[in-house]
C-alpha cells in the first residue's frame, strides 16, 4: 500500500514539474524526426509552377541582362558611389520611393487593406512635409507607418488572376504576364509619368535605377554564384517571392 502511495506521490511531483514534461516531449520529438523518413518530400506550401513557352527568347534576354549588368550598369553604379556620398544617395532613394506612395496606397485600397492604405497615405503626407519633399524619412521612427510594398500585379493576383506565362524583361528582369500588366497599370498612377518633358522623365528613371543599384551591388553576383542553373534559379526565386507577397 505504502509503496504504491509513494510511487503515486513521486510521479505526481515529477509530472507537475514543467521541465519533466518538456523533456518527455523533447525526446519523443527527437525520436520521430531522427527517423530516416523525415517528410522530405512534403512541404506546407505548394511549388509555384508557371509555363515558360517563350523560353528561348527569355533566356536570350536573361543573357542580355547579365551582360548589361556586368558591362554597363555595375560600372556606372560603382562610379556613382565613388562620386555621390551615401547620405545623398539615401536621400535620393527616399525621395523616389516617396513618389511610389500613390501606387502603394491605391493598391492597398484595392486589396481591401484599408488600414495599410491609411498608414501609407499618412506616411506620404508626413514624409513630403516634415521629410522635405521626401528626401528624409522621418516616418521611419513610427513602425506602424512602415511602407506597404503593394503593386497592381499583387492586386491582380489577389483577385485570382493567374501568373500567365513567365517573362524576362529587358533591364527589369524576371516577371510574368500578369505582373507586367500590373506594371503598366501602376505606371499611370505614378506622378513621374506625368512629367511633360520626356528627357526629364527618362533621366529620372535612369537615376532611380542607378541609385537603387548602388545599394545592391553584389546581390546579383551572390545569387548567380549560388545557383547551379542561374536561369532556373532566378525564375523560381521570382515566383516564390511574388507568391509570398500576394499571400501576405
Amino acid at each position: 500500500m505504502k509503496k504504491t502511495a509513494t510511487i503515486l506521490i513521486l510521479s505526481c511531483i515529477l509530472f507537475l514539474l514543467p521541465g519533466f514534461n518538456a523533456h518527455s516531449a523533447d525526446s519523443s520529438a527527437a525520436q520521430t524526426s531522427s527517423s530516416d523518413e523525415l517528410d522530405y518530400m512534403n512541404d506546407a506550401e505548394p511549388q509555384v509552377i508557371v509555363a515558360d513557352p517563350l523560353f528561348r527568347l527569355n533566356s536570350a534576354v536573361f543573357e542580355f541582362n547579365d551582360k548589361l549588368y556586368f558591362w554597363v550598369l555595375k560600372p556606372i553604379a560603382q562610379g556613382y558611389i565613388a562620386v555621390v556620398p551615401t547620405p545623398v544617395r539615401r536621400g535620393v532613394k527616399n525621395f523616389l520611393h516617396n513618389f511610389g506612395s500613390p501606387v502603394r496606397t491605391v493598391n492597398c485600397f484595392l486589396q481591401g487593406k484599408m488600414e495599410a492604405a491609411a498608414s501609407e497615405m499618412c506616411r506620404f503626407v508626413y514624409n513630403t512635409t516634415f521629410g522635405i519633399l521626401g528626401f528624409m524619412d522621418p516616418a521611419k521612427d513610427f513602425p506602424h507607418l512602415n511602407p506597404h510594398e503593394e503593386d497592381f500585379g499583387q492586386t491582380l493576383g489577389l483577385f485570382g488572376v493567374d501568373n500567365g506565362i513567365y517573362l524576362v524583361l529587358p533591364i527589369i528582369g524576371p516577371s510574368t504576364l500578369r505582373d507586367s500588366l500590373g506594371m503598366v497599370g501602376d505606371y499611370f498612377i505614378t506622378p513621374t509619368a506625368y512629367i511633360e518633358t520626356n528627357a526629364l522623365a527618362w533621366a529620372l528613371k535612369a537615376e532611380e535605377a542607378v541609385n537603387d543599384l548602388s545599394f545592391r551591388i553584389g546581390e546579383y553576383e551572390d545569387l548567380k554564384d549560388a545557383a547551379i542553373e542561374p536561369y532556373l534559379s532566378f525564375k523560381d526565386g521570382y515566383l516564390q517571392y511574388r507568391y509570398k507577397k500576394i499571400n501576405q
Partner: protein, 209 residues
C-alpha cells in the same frame, strides 16, 4: 522493518525534491531552437570580426573554424534529401553520400562568401521562434542594413536534443525549394553522376579563386 522502509522512502523523496530542480535546469539547457541558432551564428560573426584573421594567410584557418560550426548547425544531408526530393531515391547510396558532401561544400561556400565578403554594417536580429509541428520550429530573424531589413527565417528540427537547420528562407524564397527546381530539371536530362560532377566543378572553381 517497516519503519526503516518508510525512512528509506522519505529519504528518497527528499533526495528527489532536492535533485529535481537541478535536473530541470539540466534539461532546459537543451534549449530552444532560437538559442541553438543564435549561439553558433554569433560565434561565426565574432570569428569574422576577429582581427587575428585579418591577414590573408589566416583566411583559410578562419574558414575552417567557421565550417566546423556551420556543419553542426546545418544538417546538410537533410538539406540534400529535401533538395533532391523524389530524385533522392534514384541515387545509389554512394552517390547520395557524394552528393551530400559536395552540396555541403557548395552551400558553405555561398554562405561564407555572403557573410565573409559583405558583413560590414549589418546586424542580425533574432526575432522569435514558432513551433511548426512536433520537433520542428521556425526561427525568424532579420538582417538590418542601411536602407532596408531583410527577413531570414530558419526552418529547424530537433535531433538528439539539438536543433539543426534544414532550410533557409530569405525574403520569402526557400533556398531548398529553389535548388529543388534546378535539380529537378537538370536530372530530367542528366544522370546523378553528371549533376555531382557539375557541383564538384563549381566548388573547385571557388577554391581556386
Amino acid at each position: 522493518m517497516s519503519t526503516t522502509r518508510i525512512r528509506c522512502y522519505t529519504l528518497g523523496i527528499i533526495m528527489l525534491l532536492i535533485l529535481t530542480p537541478i535536473l530541470t535546469v539540466g534539461i532546459s539547457m537543451a534549449a530552444s531552437p532560437l538559442e541553438d541558432l543564435k549561439i553558433p551564428i554569433e560565434t561565426v560573426l565574432s570569428l569574422l570580426k576577429d582581427t587575428v584573421y585579418k591577414n590573408p594567410d589566416q583566411r583559410q584557418q578562419q574558414r575552417d573554424k567557421i565550417l566546423v560550426i556551420t556543419r553542426k548547425l546545418f544538417d546538410f544531408t537533410e538539406m540534400s534529401k529535401r533538395a533532391l526530393a523524389r530524385n533522392w531515391k534514384s541515387f545509389s547510396s554512394l552517390e547520395q553520400q557524394q552528393f551530400a558532401d559536395v552540396f555541403a561544400d557548395h552551400l558553405s561556400n555561398s554562405y561564407m562568401d555572403k557573410i565573409q565578403g559583405e558583413y560590414k554594417d549589418e546586424t542580425i536580429i533574432f526575432l522569435n521562434q514558432e513551433a511548426v509541428s512536433d520537433g520542428k520550429s521556425l526561427v525568424k530573424t532579420k538582417i538590418q542594413r542601411q536602407t532596408k531589413d531583410i527577413p531570414v527565417d530558419y526552418s529547424m528540427y530537433s535531433v538528439d536534443n539539438q536543433w539543426r537547420v534544414y532550410d533557409v528562407n530569405i525574403e520569402g524564397v526557400s533556398l531548398i525549394k529553389n535548388y529543388r527546381t534546378q535539380f529537378d530539371q537538370i536530372l530530367a536530362k542528366e544522370s546523378p553522376a553528371q549533376l555531382i560532377e557539375r557541383l564538384k566543378k563549381k566548388v573547385e572553381i571557388k577554391i581556386g579563386n
